[in-house]
């Protein structure tokens, strides 16, 4: 079975600085895949390579299509939703406007889509008119996730969702992600510092170090791997 997303020997750079030195990974449809690794390993850059927000080379194939030449808006139109590090909510806009932006690539009414989103995030419904910048960090992260989900993307790229969030909120977030995965078949590629949480939620994972994949496997395999346990799981 061909994977929904497949990276082959992807290199990426910020100006003269090369960050990814040939990353290869695959994400099966309907699965949650985690990307782990230390700071500066290139985890965020990997997601950016997929969404086209960084200069990259190598093969990136999504649902049979090469993403090579596409910019971020083109990738978004194909059904890839990227929730960036730091959430990327539009603080000056209202909750409702943020959600409407999630549906930007769709013409016409999005009422049923919004209703479905509200069913997963009921509290958002009450805050429609509130300015996104006045929400708490955790609420903004949920809003970002909700926005990504409005058009039922085929692939969700989630960058460091737990950053700066209280553990309770992080647990809730991952619960919702798993629910979306199980009920709606959402495929997720998540970059996470918190390896423990990530491997609990994910089906498979990759470990990145210095711009290269050093380890890959199912989440069980990774959780029982010695080096992973020592470096990332703390025992």
């Amino acid at each position: 079975m061909t994977a929904l997303l497949e990276l082959t020997d992807v290199e990426a750079r910020y100006g003269p600085v090369h960050v990814l030195h040939g990353v290869s990974l695959a994400v099966e449809e309907g699965s949650i895949v985690a990307v782990l690794g230390p700071n500066g390993a290139g985890k965020t850059t990997t997601l950016r390579a997929v969404s086209g927000t960084v200069r990259r080379s190598g093969r990136i194939v999504f649902a049979g299509r090469s993403l090579g030449r596409l910019g971020p808006d083109g990738v978004a139109r194909l059904g890839v939703a990227h929730v960036p590090e730091g959430r990327g909510t539009f603080s000056e806009l209202t909750v409702s406007e943020n959600l409407r932006l999630g549906a930007y690539t769709r013409r016409g009414s999005i009422h049923p889509e919004l209703e479905r989103v509200f069913s997963y995030f009921p509290w958002l419904s009450e805050r429609r008119r509130q300015q996104a910048g006045t929400l708490s960090g955790g609420e903004q992260q949920m809003l970002a996730l909700a926005r990504a989900f409005v058009l039922r993307p085929r692939l969700l790229l989630l960058d460091e969702p737990s950053l700066g969030l209280a553990p309770v909120l992080v647990a809730e977030l991952f619960r919702i992600v798993r629910e979306l995965n199980e009920k709606e078949g959402l495929t997720v590629l998540v970059v996470e510092q918190n390896a423990h949480l990530a491997l609990q939620a994910a089906h498979a994972g990759y470990v990145l170090e210095a711009g290269r994949v050093v380890l890959a496997g199912t989440s069980e395999e990774l959780q029982s791997d010695d080096s992973v346990r020592r470096s990332y799981l703390g025992y």
Partner: protein, 336 residues
């Protein structure tokens, strides 16, 4: 909070709401409006000056709004905004010479202005946007000189005037003589501003433009074509500038290439007064400057009409020193 990927904005990045000063500003504005009303009821001269001030202020506000739109979208202060507005009035004049009626020429010019702004952003501004602020400033300065030269070259010399858009009728309301022109100026600008507001608040395009201005990187992630939004922003701004120019021209009777130069200064002052990030502020700022200048020249002997420009500058400097974010701006984030 911003990632390396999201736009590296310079020092005055707004964050969330600053509810603190907003009520104060509203109170001040209401008080000012009351003052104007009372004064107008008590003195015919005062009323006439106020109406004229509002009409001129509407023009300043329109140009100021153009400046703010461009600034919000591309972080560039377009020093050539006034000259572009002036150029479009000459284009309108030319269309009238070729047989169009005033209003046909008016709307045709708006269309031309939109395309002009679009093209300028794509050809001149986009290439330098990512370099330095200085480069963009210089390009607009060069554009200022270029447009000025082109207009003078093509149309310079000789008396030219546009037919009066609203006729020469004068209304008499309770002893106060109000030129239909002034009413027309206020109405046209107000309609344009409202249309722009509706565009931004209620349409998908407007939402995309706002998102592209606030956070271009994240906007791209949801599928907004940021480049296109910026170009449209410039097109829209040039249209607003054209409205300002076309409304300013009749009040000066003779078309003159220096028409918009003082108005650009007033527009700068208005935009800063209202807050460079605030479209509403630009319009309100324009009205304030228009009325204030008119009244001050009349009632404060020390300030004669030649001192209007320096007065506007004084306003600019004072606002920048006391509250750089202007009346409606958000609290800035200062670094270092």
């Amino acid at each position: 909070m911003a990632t390396a990927e999201s736009s590296p904005r310079p020092t005055f990045r707004s964050r969330g709401t600053d509810v603190g000063s907003f009520p104060v500003v509203v109170v001040l504005l209401v008080a000012a409006a009351a003052f104007l009303l009372v004064g107008s009821l008590r003195s015919v001269t005062f009323a006439q000056l106020t109406v004229q001030g509002l009409a001129l202020g509407a023009v300043y506000g329109s140009l100021a709004l153009a400046l703010v739109l461009v600034y919000r979208a591309t972080r560039v202060i377009n020093f050539a905004q006034g000259e572009l507005a002036m150029a479009t009035t000459y284009i309108a004049w030319q269309l009238v010479q070729w047989g169009l009626s005033y209003w046909e020429a008016f709307f045709a010019t708006l269309g031309i202005a939109f395309v002009l702004g679009l093209v300028l952003e794509i050809v001149l501004i986009r290439p330098v946007l990512h370099r330095s602020e200085i480069a963009a400033v210089i390009v607009t300065v060069g554009l200022f000189i270029l447009v000025d030269g082109v207009v003078n070259w093509l149309w310079g010399g000789g008396f030219k005037s546009l037919p009066p858009p609203f006729g020469t009728k004068i209304y008499h309301v309770g002893g106060v003589a109000i030129a239909r022109l002034y009413v027309g100026m206020i109405v046209v600008v107000l309609v344009s501003v409202v249309l722009v507001w509706v565009l931004f608040r209620f349409t998908k395009l407007g939402l995309g433009m706002r998102a592209a201005a606030i956070r271009p990187a994240e906007a791209a992630l949801v599928g907004v074509r940021v480049d296109r939004m910026l170009a449209i922003g410039w097109g829209l701004a040039t249209v607003l500038g054209a409205v300002a120019g076309l409304m300013a021209a009749p009040s000066q009777y003779i078309l003159d290439p220096t028409l918009m130069q003082p108005i650009l200064v007033y527009a700068f002052a208005a935009a800063v007064l209202g807050g460079l990030e605030s479209p509403a502020g630009a319009v309100v700022g324009g009205l304030i400057i228009g009325v204030t200048l008119n009244l001050i020249v009349q009632y404060v002997p020390a300030i004669t009409s030649e001192l209007q420009l320096p007065f506007a500058f004084a306003v600019l400097i004072v606002v920048l020193l006391i509250k750089p974010s202007g009346l409606f701006g958000h609290r800035e984030v200062r670094r270092v």
